[in-house]
Symmetry: C2
Subunit: 167 residues, 2 copies
Amino acid sequence: MKLPPDYVAGFVDGEGSFSLTIAKHKEKKSGLDPRLTFAIELRDDDLEILLALQETFECGRIYHLSYERYGWFPHVILKVSSIDELCTKIIPFFRKHVLRAKKRKSFELFCRAAEIFVSKKHLVKEGIDQLYLIQSQMNKYSKKGGIPSFRQGAGKPRARRGENSPK
Amino acid sequence: MKLPPDYVAGFVDGEGSFSLTIAKHKEKKSGLDPRLTFAIELRDDDLEILLALQETFECGRIYHLSYERYGWFPHVILKVSSIDELCTKIIPFFRKHVLRAKKRKSFELFCRAAEIFVSKKHLVKEGIDQLYLIQSQMNKYSKKGGIPSFRQGAGKPRARRGENSPK
């Protein structure tokens, strides 16, 4: 079942994530493996809505995360990492049906990073440097907030006051 | 700025909560103080969207939660607890613009509880017993999931396997 597009925008503003990771990779010429991922992770008893989101986006794969070893509730995650699917499905979707919370800023940076991938510059140093810059800006809007480490994500305990406070 | 209603339904499916609490209260005839609350709690750098939600619902109050003593990121919360506002604004809103994730089930139970409040039965034992029953059903859809305590909410560590497992 396809979902109303505005509903999807609202849901993703709450539960979606736009991320850029740059991992080391021995077999890549640059030694680095930058990746863009759009994802929605929910508890596994909300699988039904994730299937409907997948149908609405017409892309993405769903993975089951048992989290057994962490002792957490099992989750399901819808992931889109293919640059082609991101550029033809996900980005156009949110250009048309806009995000309205602070996630909109992550999305705009994500789009700038996608342009670098499309131009293949993510394979060379110049492009990777640009991606690092974008990544640092995206971190400002992430859960950890890009602000001093003593202010962490919602509900997560930080170091005790004083330990990591700015001097 | 008012938000598109479907957007609001999507956002609330991710971030909203419908809750029923029954606290002890010496000055109440029944000795108990049942309350219904609709709330949306976000990090304080998302205040703008919370103000827009408040304007869209045409009700609710926003509170700032410093969480200083817990060492968490400061939050803002939009709360609607008045039974009049719940029945004339919030419930009709989500009857018209439906929730689609598992939160829909909490909402349906919330509506049944609201009927008990409207009929004033929440002031007497019979009604409070009904509210306890509804509350136990709502807990099934809450973060803790109403299942054995070793399976807790997303991302929260549970007791180590074995410690609290059912016999």
